[in-house]
């Protein structure tokens, strides 16, 4: 897998310090997990954060803080048990990071286009979903009212920014006019985080627009 499109550095840095909202954290995280180059960058930021932790002005903890932590330690089982992964039936080949999430039922959005919402905690504004489009389909011309982070999991799509295959990361905002074309080799499965609405351009878009509450 050759990854040629990466998240911008400031997004990776925000990811490394845990500042991204949940949907963005998820999409960037899945990219980073499969991209040694970005993983290295993230670890460099974590290293800087570690240095900051060493040098920050300490703030005294509660007087009984240590005792409380020790008593928790004494009252908890010795081994870390990792909970078994929830069994996932009917899953697209979702990456391991996604299997921890509840993923909703597939919903048809338009011909050749379906989505499955990913259940988040609700702490952020962006939604996350899996988007599956049929091979060779031309996605509707659209613009965004917010930002859209897209990670290709399977298949590919192309637009004026280039070709995006598995592992590739695409960043769209309201200045980008997208008209992606899905590659012929198979369906394209993407993990998407989106704020704002998708606005369809053109007559067809206006006709189906009301249904496309992605």
């Amino acid at each position: 897998m050759t990854i040629s499109h990466h998240p911008p550095e400031d997004l990776l840095a925000d990811f490394a310090v845990g500042k991204l909202e949940e949907a963005h954290q998820l999409v960037v995280g899945v990219h980073v997990a499969g991209c040694p180059r970005c993983a290295r960058f993230v670890r460099a930021i974590e290293q800087l954060a570690g240095a900051a932790l060493e040098e920050v002005e300490p703030v005294a903890t509660a007087p009984d803080a240590f005792d409380r932590v020790m008593s928790r330690i004494e009252n908890s089982p010795a081994d870390i048990t990792t909970p078994p992964l929830a069994s996932v039936t009917d899953h697209d080949d979702v990456p391991p990071a996604l299997r921890k999430y509840r993923i909703g039922k597939r919903r048809r959005v338009a011909p050749g286009l379906s989505m499955r919402p990913i259940e988040l905690s609700g702490s952020g504004k962006a939604r996350a979903f899996l988007l599956r489009s049929a091979p060779g389909s031309r996605m509707l011309e659209h613009t965004h009212t917010g930002t859209e982070l897209t990670l290709v999991l399977e298949g590919s799509f192309s637009h004026e920014g280039g070709r995006f295959g598995p592992g590739d990361f695409d960043y769209g905002d309201d200045e980008v006019d997208h008209r992606p074309i899905v590659g012929d080799e198979g369906p394209c499965l993407c993990l998407v985080a989106m704020t704002g609405d998708l606005r369809m351009n053109g007559l067809l878009g206006r006709l189906i627009g009301p249904f496309v509450r992605l």
């Binding site: 500042k19 954290q25 460099a44 974590e46 800087l48 908890s76 609700g122």
Partner: protein, 201 residues
């Protein structure tokens, strides 16, 4: 204010006698011997710093206290997973605190929505390796070397902007430089770090 920042400008320089303590070794002792004395030293050093950093990043004192205690509890529990070849002790502890902060934000959102608390997953640990292919030890050395090539000025803006989560105008007034310089310096630092890390790929 100015003096405080001038003092902290010397990142990466000698940090005084405290820097002599081998935190990684203490974590190792917690892992291998459940060494309470070692843990106490880790606690006394890191818990107040976690609290300090979390407050700087916008947590209330109560939240910061909770994260500090939970993080130290996790340090004890996860000590066996710490790999000094992969990350420094402080960076590893930072990632633990960071994940707890993410969890607490989400838990609060869930509670606000009055949803069943146990149903949703914890934050995935971004530091967990799905990237088993990387030679991690080599990586840590490369990262260490790369960071040394950044200037103190570059490290300062990255820290203020990303780790202390300060807005660009605030950074400009703290450092006494124009807003445009803050933005370009952050961008340059990010690009430089990326370039250095890419060099011997």
């Amino acid at each position: 204010m100015t003096r405080r920042f001038a003092a902290r400008r010397s990142i990466g320089a000698s940090k005084g006698p405290k820097a002599k303590v081998d935190w990684a070794d203490l974590i190792g002792r917690v892992a291998s011997h459940h060494d309470r004395e070692a843990f106490k030293r880790l606690f006394e050093h890191f818990a107040p710093r976690i609290k300090g950093l979390m407050q700087k990043a916008g947590c209330s004192p109560d939240e910061a206290e909770e994260i500090a205690q939970n993080a130290m509890f996790a340090v004890w529990r996860k000590a066996g997973l710490f790999d000094p070849a992969t990350a420094g002790a402080a960076a590893w502890i930072f990632t633990i605190a960071r994940n707890l902060r993410i969890d607490s934000l989400r838990r609060r959102a869930r509670t606000d929505r009055l949803e069943a608390v146990s149903e949703l997953p914890d934050a995935p640990d971004p530091a967990e390796p799905a990237d088993a292919a990387i030679s991690r030890g080599q990586d840590a050395a490369r990262i260490e070397a790369a960071l040394k090539q950044l200037s103190a000025e570059q490290i300062m803006v990255v820290r203020l902007s990303f780790i202390e989560e300060r807005a660009h105008p605030e950074i400009a007034s703290l450092l006494g430089i124009p807003l445009g310089t803050v933005k370009s310096r952050i961008r340059l630092a990010m690009n430089r770090l990326r370039d250095i890390l890419d060099e011997d790929t």
